[in-house]
Amino acid sequence: MTDTAPALDRLRAGAPPRNHDARTIAALTANPGCARRGLLDAAGVDKDAVARHLGFGTPFGQSQFAITRGNAFEAQVKADGCAELLALLRDRLGLDVGEVGYDDLDDEGGREFRHARTRKLLARALDDAQGTLFDHPLLRLDIGGTPAYLEPDVIAFQLAGRFHVVEIKSFAVVDGQAEPEQVAAAARQAAVYVLALRELVADLGHDPQRVSHEVFLVCPENFSNRPSATPLDVRPQLAVLRRQLDRLTRVDAILNGLPPDLSFALDDGLGAAVRTVEARYAPDCAAGCELAYFCRDEARACGATGALGRGVRDDLGGVDTVEAALDLARGAADPPAELAETAALLRTAARLRAEALGGAA
């Protein structure tokens, strides 16, 4: 535990902490500059409850049809000690996977205990280089100075002395192609597991490279329930992840600038408390952060150009607010020297728009 722990506990105002998972870490890296998210996640604040309390709940629910399908597929792949998965790796990919042990680490008591057991089993497998499958291991990753526990429903197996992460997803791969966003999301999550596993391996005194950057994505094939396995090189995602985690504003630094009695208790002061911590809203927040509607409202209220999309802000030469940009376009404000070029561009754009629209009227 780090010395920020008591402060972070206080932020939660007595509520139990929420666990990070690979999805939230992957999402975290999507917006590494956001102190608000960084802090709330580090403290394990239930962002969904916060958003709801503030009247900005996001429809993040999942259809039971999708859940049922996902669970059924995962259960099918893992049934009988992952028989189907092994057959897939051996027969379809022609991998020389030998006899393997299978360890299910689920339901083994508390987090610390499960993590310790994951450690022990992994250490043994590293030493005797045995083919081993772990189900429901508990990994740990340092996020902004605070440890986060990961509960992957993935399995690592050893092939020629290297561990591979297997990620089971229920979206279909049709003729070798799946929806790019879904594949990208799966790759980002798998990269989180690879990183966490590598840290553990290094911690055990082994070469972290014994965890391969090649993961296996197991998905239903075409329109059937039959699983297919696709090797996926997550090196690019790993590089991004490492860079983003390094850049993540350290939680203690954020805490330093905040009032010492700040808390995110679900009471009347919640809105003000959340606003105290700086955010960096962009439309793609909607894909991964429960506070998206709240932050969007805030960004729109202060006329942030970023609320229109990252690209829009760039096209406006980095001008932050709608009002400032419109003033430049209308020639209402004398631009500072560094914005002279942008101002000229916007004024020309405004003139051309007016001309074209006037001509049409």
Binding site: P59, F65, L308, T348, A356
Partner: protein, 490 residues
């Protein structure tokens, strides 16, 4: 995006309402398009739940699968859908007009009309693509036989989706894309993907402004999603119990009616929105080159329709040569489409003026009868000077043409403080004096651009059997197999 498009978004924020980014309509709208709104079962790639479709706004047809996991019901649904879609195809082709024979003497015809399909959003296009993929290989014989219309539907759905990839094609339109081509809102592109929110900005209901209408549209209870994904709360609270009741009663008609009513309730608001979108688009005057692009669409339709009987389902994946050819064709179509829109629409041309590839202004001097006598024979080479405030980025010697009348061609002589001096080289008639009205006179507003709307000859790609070994050599002819027919659809 560009500064011009970004500025339009700012204006929309400021006006609390969408602003136009086009002055004419850049897509074709058929008299009776088939509006088609698909819903898919959550968690599945292409398991259809329901489709609301039809060519008559007052009379939509609802097709639904009361138990979406049941394979037989699914194929029965596909057969029903096939019937409507194939009827639409046959009803929308008009007459076959004879064209002058091709160079090699083969006869050519073109249907005077073509079927148009409108879906609410790009998700609808993706759904049709997957529906096509999951039905076109089905066999009409043997142990897994389906109705003959099912694989035919698959081939048509695939064809429509492929045409959608082609810039400027109007055979399959997504309402959100068509609207976004003509209006900019004060929200992000992501949010524009929600048809109800997009329309809220463009044409808010009485008493609401754009942001308020868009906010209302984000409430899935008031505005169910436009598909193909359903609202998870609807799934859990309405659909799942209704499907369970259908199962429990062994397919009782009343239970089936309950599922259908629930799905109709989700689809009807979107049905109205799509027609509303078309009203807005129809109100815009059609761009000058739209009929020409629709003619290409009619050509493609004629070819596909006339060879349908002897054709086989489209391959799962393109061969190397086909992929290269397709890519090349798409790039060319994109260039031509961009240029055509700019010539049709001063607001689109404004983009090119902003980036310096076009300039507009007032003619200050004109020498309409200037002759170039440096060669053996004198040539008519009038010159005009155009005063412009535009940031021109065209070098001396660059060929340009008039945006209003592309036949009027010229080249840049010089660009300085007095404006741009253009020497005219074409579009003046055949004599040594220009035809009246061809040379702009002082005081005229003109716009010249380096864009061209020229179409180059077809690219040369090797024939199928000459595919280089670097690209896998000649591909095997695609033959549908039993395995295709038996492929699970669960």
């Amino acid at each position: 995006m560009s500064a011009l498009a970004a500025l339009a978004r700012l204006e929309a924020v400021d006006a609390r309402r969408a602003v136009p980014i086009a002055t004419v309509r850049h897509c074709h709208l058929a008299d009776a398009p088939l509006v088609l709104i698909p819903l898919r079962l959550a968690g599945e790639a292409a398991a259809p739940l329901a489709v609301m479709l039809g060519t008559d706004r007052a009379d939509p047809t609802l097709l639904a699968v009361p138990q979406p996991r049941n394979r037989d019901l699914r194929f029965a649904f596909a057969a029903e859908l096939a019937k409507v879609v194939l009827e639409h195809v046959e009803a929308s082709r008009g007459a076959a007009e004879e064209l002058p024979p091709a160079k090699d003497g083969t006869e050519r015809v073109r249907y005077t009309e073509a079927p148009q399909v409108i879906v609410p959003n790009t998700g609808g296009v993706a759904f049709l693509r997957l529906l096509g993929r999951s039905t076109r290989f089905r066999s009409t014989e043997g142990p897994h036989a389906v109705e003959p219309s099912v694989p035919a539907l698959g081939r048509w759905a695939t064809w429509f989706a492929e045409r959608h990839d082609r810039p400027g094609s109007s055979l399959l339109l997504a309402a959100t894309e068509a609207l976004r081509l003509h209006w900019a809102t004060g929200q992000s592109a992501l949010e524009d993907g929600n048809l109800a929110a997009l329309l809220g900005w463009i044409d808010p209901p009485d008493g609401l402004d754009g942001p308020a209408a868009a906010a209302r549209a984000e409430d899935p209870v008031r505005c169910p999603p436009a598909g193909p994904a359903t609202d998870p709360t609807f799934d859990n609270e309405v659909l799942a119990p209704a499907v369970a009741a259908y199962d429990a009663t062994d397919g009782d008609p009343r239970a089936e009616e309950r599922v259908r009513a629930a799905l109709a309730g989700q689809l009807t608001p979107t049905w109205d929105l799509v027609w509303h979108a078309m009203d807005l688009l129809r109100a815009l005057p059609e761009g000058a080159s739209v009929p020409r692009r629709w003619e290409r669409d009619r050509d493609a339709f004629t070819l596909f329709h006339q060879t349908f009987a002897e054709g086989v389902p489209q391959a799962r994946r393109d061969t190397a040569v086909a992929a290269a050819r397709r890519l090349h064709a798409l790039e060319r179509a994109q260039d031509a489409y961009d240029a055509q829109r700019a010539f049709d629409d001063p607001l689109v041309m404004a983009e090119h003026r902003l980036n310096g590839q076009a300039f507009g202004g007032v003619v200050t001097e004109a020498d309409p009868t200037r002759l170039d006598e440096s060669g053996k024979r004198p040539k008519l080479r009038p010159r005009v000077r155009v005063a412009t405030e535009d940031p021109v980025r065209l070098d001396a010697g660059t060929a340009v043409c008039s945006a209003e009348r592309p036949a009027l061609k010229g080249r840049i002589v010089e660009y300085g403080t007095g404006g741009v001096l253009v020497e005219l080289t074409g579009g003046l008639g055949r004599k040594l004096v220009p035809e009246p009205g061809t040379v702009p006179a002082p005081g005229d507003r003109v716009c010249f651009t380096s864009l061209t709307d020229a179409s180059f000859g077809p690219a040369r790609f090797p024939e199928r059997e000459d595919t280089p070994w670097t690209h896998g050599g000649p591909p095997a002819e695609y033959v549908p197999s039993d395995a295709d027919a038996a492929e699970e659809w669960s």
